[in-house]
């Protein structure tokens, strides 16, 4: 009820959430999925100073103290990380939304945070589904469409929500000029590295960040016809960190990806009909040794239901642990954020989700969401 009211008014949301934090210091449940080893039966997670302080058996903690959330029939998981999202980016009635700049195809100087609306109700909506971190990114209409950012699904001001910016550069592989555009751009950036100067265009500075592997190049691609090959060639030539979104035909050319150890973010569709049979793409790619995450591509999918979509991946092969890894620690590892998020490990951000029952069950719902040690949602 509270969540429903909070989600309807951005101003009310910001006001009420500022007052809604509770001093929760211990969360206990029937099972704790740490994503740093096997799940703990009858376990607890202790919080201090916004971080995970300790994780262990219930018997190791004093559950009689104030500030305890106890779900004897529930489960605890790390905060869900949605690493492919365009949430809050609305506005264009033509349907492309604010994520897709149509005036030019090459736009590494654009910053998604200039379009991201921290007051939009979809932030609270995602959070109510257990998503605590999202990678918000430009769309896929240009060869290079701009820079993405990692944000926590807390509340404004924006500066307090941003975890990392830039978190990557978004591009596509399906345009015929893809190779030439990347080659020219990164060639210029490489040449600029040889002549350091403070007067350098943002596009070149972003290119330099890619060359230094500080940020990844995230490509919307992997469709039939081998259109990913020009980007693979660019990644080889310039030694880039490369990540691929969707990768819908990657069950056909996975050897190239395995050889380069390229991480894949699957979604919004989990299941594909390829060559007359239903394929669980995530399961297939994981079985080949690739690092795979599942994401919503909000608003094509919905961030709020990412956990439910991950449950679909249990069909045809993924275990519960693998499905949960795909929306937590794998996502964090892919974007080099696993030093802070993705698992319930001492020292990491206290981004914790308490479920009313076993994860991936149809009747289980999100009971409580904690971000940075503070409760941001309670059912």
């Amino acid at each position: 009820m509270t969540a429903a009211i909070l989600s309807t008014s951005p101003l009310l949301q910001a006001t009420c959430e500022a007052q809604a934090a509770t001093d929760v210091t211990l969360l206990c449940a029937a099972r704790v999925w740490t994503m740093a080893g096997d799940p703990i039966s009858n376990g607890c997670v202790q919080i201090a100073d916004g971080r995970v302080a300790r994780v262990g058996q219930r018997s190791d903690f004093d559950t009689s103290l104030p500030g305890v959330v106890d779900r004897p029939n529930g489960e605890i998981i790390p905060g869900i990380i949605d690493v492919h999202s365009h949430f809050t980016l609305r506005g264009d009635p033509r349907g492309a939304g604010e994520a897709n700049e149509r005036s030019r195809s090459f736009a590494p100087d654009l910053d998604i945070l200039d379009a991201f609306d921290p007051y939009d109700p979809s932030v609270a909506h995602a959070r109510s589904g257990g998503v605590t971190t999202a990678l918000v990114t430009p769309g896929s209409i240009g060869v290079v469409s701009g820079r993405s950012a990692l944000v926590k699904t807390t509340a404004p001001p924006l500066s307090q929500m941003v975890m990392r910016t830039p978190a990557g550069v978004k591009g596509t592989s399906w345009r015929p000029e893809t190779y030439d555009v990347f080659d020219h751009w990164l060639g210029e950036a490489r040449a600029a590295q040889a002549r350091p100067s403070s007067d350098t265009a943002i596009a070149i500075k972003v290119g330099e960040q890619l060359l230094r592997r500080e940020i990844p190049l995230v490509i919307h691609g992997g469709y039939p016809g081998g259109e990913i090959e020009p980007v693979l060639a660019i990644a080889d030539k310039y030694a880039l960190r490369l990540i691929i979104y969707h990768c819908e035909s990657c069950d056909e050319n996975y050897e190239e990806l395995v050889a380069r150890k390229i991480p894949i973010v699957v979604g919004p569709r989990i299941m594909y009909w390829n060559r007359g049979r239903e394929t669980n793409l995530a399961s297939f790619l994981m079985s080949k040794g690739l690092l795979v995450a599942l994401a919503s591509d909000a608003s094509s999918g919905e961030s709020r239901y990412l956990m439910d979509d991950a449950g679909l991946a249990l069909h045809y092969g993924l275990t519960e642990k693998q499905a949960l890894e795909a929306i937590t620690i794998n996502a964090a590892r892919i974007f080099h954020a696993d030093d802070r998020i993705g698992s319930l490990t001492p020292g990491k951000d206290a981004d914790v989700v308490v479920l009313s029952g076993p994860v991936f069950r149809a009747r289980t719902h999100v009971d409580l969401v904690m971000i940075g040690g503070r409760v941001w949602y309670e059912r």
């Binding site: 101003l11 264009d92 604010e98 005036s103 100087d109 200039d114 921290p118 924006l158």
Partner: protein
């Protein structure tokens, strides 16, 4: 022959008649232009009550207006023998006129960027706009670019062509108009691109210090005038203003963030409210007042007396007196815009006022007459069109 002579006489007489009419018409028009561009020398206005835009009301009262400005405010009614042009409005009330916004067409150069243009050159010159403003209680207009313009040109506070020989700027050089939002008409543009284009222009201006409007913006003699009707746009505007250290004038604001703004050099014009937005309007106004941010409210379609009457419970909940409520629409926006001579009916200020039948905070009250610089420009009983 005879017919032709008769015809010639008719034609000649008619030509003379037409010429006489043209001459008279020109004389009348010239007198109108002359009279409009030169306010009456001395005007004396008596009324049942006065709200001066600052203090609690007084009345009965007489305003002495000389050369378009308030020379004196006296208690009681004026004597008929006193020299000057007299108006006696019985028990009606006088209040200062307010401000509205006027969108000026911006050049269609394909990019929506026109920082060095002056919006006054494209200002709405129609009597319609002026009359609609007067009916609602606004006589001065802040120019703003059309919502789709990313960098729309330099604004000013002006009065429309009607009644004067040209659009008259009463406060020139207010700000460089900006919209940090996507553009949905061709050429389309996302908010990312709009923000980037504005930043790029400001980065160039900061580095090269050009002589034009962007240079003046960076030097502080023009405001960064951002249309910010949503929370996200307002927050974005504050962030950009802070990044470049420019003075922010946010217009059309409806909501502001709850947390204190991270930047001091901010002025805000709220509105123009519709009647169902009044509770939120006063919440936002009070929130900005608490942060000591210079804030005024613009007038839109709803007439000022109706706005005030219906606002009373919401404004009173924030501790605002009736005088403070009126000031929010009159002297406060004048402060925000640097319009030193407008917004209040005290000595040396421009005699721009509304004559209202009944009490100001009565929903039944009507704006009966409007005066600018002591000259009557609107009479509800005798609409000009």
């Amino acid at each position: 022959m005879r017919y032709r002579c008769v015809l010639q006489r008719v034609l000649v007489r008619n030509c003379l008649l037409v010429a006489a009419l043209v001459l008279c018409g020109s004389t009348i028009a010239a007198q109108q232009v002359t009279a409009a561009s030169h306010p009456p020398a001395r005007v004396i206005v008596s009324a049942g009550g006065l709200w001066n835009g600052i203090d609690a009301p007084t009345g009965p009262v007489t305003l002495i207006i000389e050369d378009g400005r308030i020379a004196a405010v006296r208690r009681g009614r004026a004597s008929a023998s006193e020299p000057g042009h007299h108006f006696d409005f019985g028990d009606w009330t006088i209040a200062p006129a307010g401000f509205a916004i006027s969108a000026a067409a911006t050049p269609h150069d394909g990019t929506g960027l026109a920082a060095d243009s002056r919006l006054i050159e494209r200002a709405d010159a129609s009597a319609h706009q002026f009359l609609e403003g007067a009916r609602a209680g606004a006589t001065s207009f802040l120019l703003d670019a059309y919502p789709q313009a990313t960098l729309g040109g330099t604004s000013s506070v002006y009065r429309p062509l009607d009644y004067w020989s040209e659009n008259r700027e009463v406060v020139p050089d207010v700000g460089v108009t900006v919209a940090l939002r996507g553009r949905t008409i061709p050429p389309t543009r996302t908010a990312m691109e709009a923000s980037w284009e504005v930043r790029k222009a400001m980065l160039l201006a900061r580095d090269r210090k050009p002589a034009g409007e962007m240079g003046k913006l960076m030097a502080g003699s023009l405001a960064f005038q951002v249309s910010a009707p949503t929370l996200a746009e307002f927050a974005r505007a504050v962030a950009v203003a802070r990044e470049f250290g420019v003075h922010l004038l946010a217009t059309g604001v409806h909501q502001v963030p709850v947390a204190p703004l991270p930047y001091d050099s901010v002025r805000v014009l709220l509105g123009a409210p519709s009647l169902d937005e009044l509770p939120e309007l006063w919440d936002t106004y009070a929130a900005l007042q608490r942060q000591r941010i210079s804030t005024g409210i613009l007038i839109g379609d709803a007439p000022l007396p109706t706005l005030l009457a219906l606002s009373r419970p919401y404004a009173a909940a924030h501790g605002l007196t009736e005088a403070a409520m009126l000031a929010a629409f009159t002297s406060a926006p004048a402060d925000v815009l640097g319009a030193k001579a407008l917004g209040q009916l005290t000595s040396h200020h421009s005699a721009d006022f509304l004559v209202i039948s009944g009490k100001l905070f009565d929903a039944r009250a009507r704006i009966e007459r409007v005066f600018i610089e002591g000259r009557e420009v609107f009479d509800r009983q005798r609409p000009r069109r």
